[in-house]
């Protein structure tokens, strides 16, 4: 069983060669399209929904907390106690160790 699995184990070389082949095809397509492309005045500039962004371009950057806020907001009941649990107090760290120790000891005693 193990031998069979090892033989058809994941082979990155094949994967990489296939990816490279695909990249070649993509490059060829890109080349084909590139000949028709006409450079206009505003190409290469940042835009939002087809318009120039207002004000300084740097301010447009999305900050770290903004990403996944919907995910976080939807699972508020899960995340809030979790964050609250990480109090940063050394006593709390010790509490967790002691609780785990007790649970593991009881588990070992009960199961075996």
């Amino acid at each position: 069983m193990i031998d069979i699995v090892l033989k058809d184990m994941w082979s990155p070389i094949i994967f990489i060669s296939i990816v490279l082949l695909n990249l070649l095809i993509v490059y060829w397509l890109y080349k084909m399209g590139n000949s028709d492309y006409k450079k206009t005045k505003h190409s290469g500039e940042p835009f939002i929904s087809g318009n120039r962004p207002p004000g300084d371009v740097r301010r447009v950057h999305v900050a770290g907390d903004n990403l996944f806020w919907g995910f976080r907001d939807a699972l508020k009941q899960y995340f809030d106690p979790l964050i609250k649990g990480h109090t940063g107090s050394i006593n709390d760290y010790m509490y967790w160790i002691v609780i785990t120790l007790a649970v593991v000891l009881v588990y070992i005693y009960m199961v075996v």
Binding site: I83, H86, T87, G88, S89, I90, N91
Partner: protein, 119 residues
Amino acid sequence: MSWESFVMMMPYITVVILMAIGLYTVLFKKNLIKIIMGIAIMQNGANLFLVSLAYRRGYIAPIFTSAESTDMVMPTPHALTLTSIVIGLATTALMLSLTMMIKKHYDSINTEDMRRCKE
């Protein structure tokens, strides 16, 4: 358990009580120096445990001055205890110096104030 056997178990029970006192201090005291003292008590308990394991009733210390080799208590736990005593001193010194730096930076040695790293 008879009185005799209780007296015989007394060193082990003392060890457990010492460990309990030490761990209680580490768990529930808020003063850093007190916590380190609790760790020192735990060290004492562990050392006493090792030395108690070495004891053989009626035997002498493992040094050849007066008796034959078969009449000696066991030497290995003594060596281990020596090692652990010095380890205990080293860790205590390091923790105390860190506490001094905490006092310097936070102007407090209470664990409730020592919570800048969290979440």
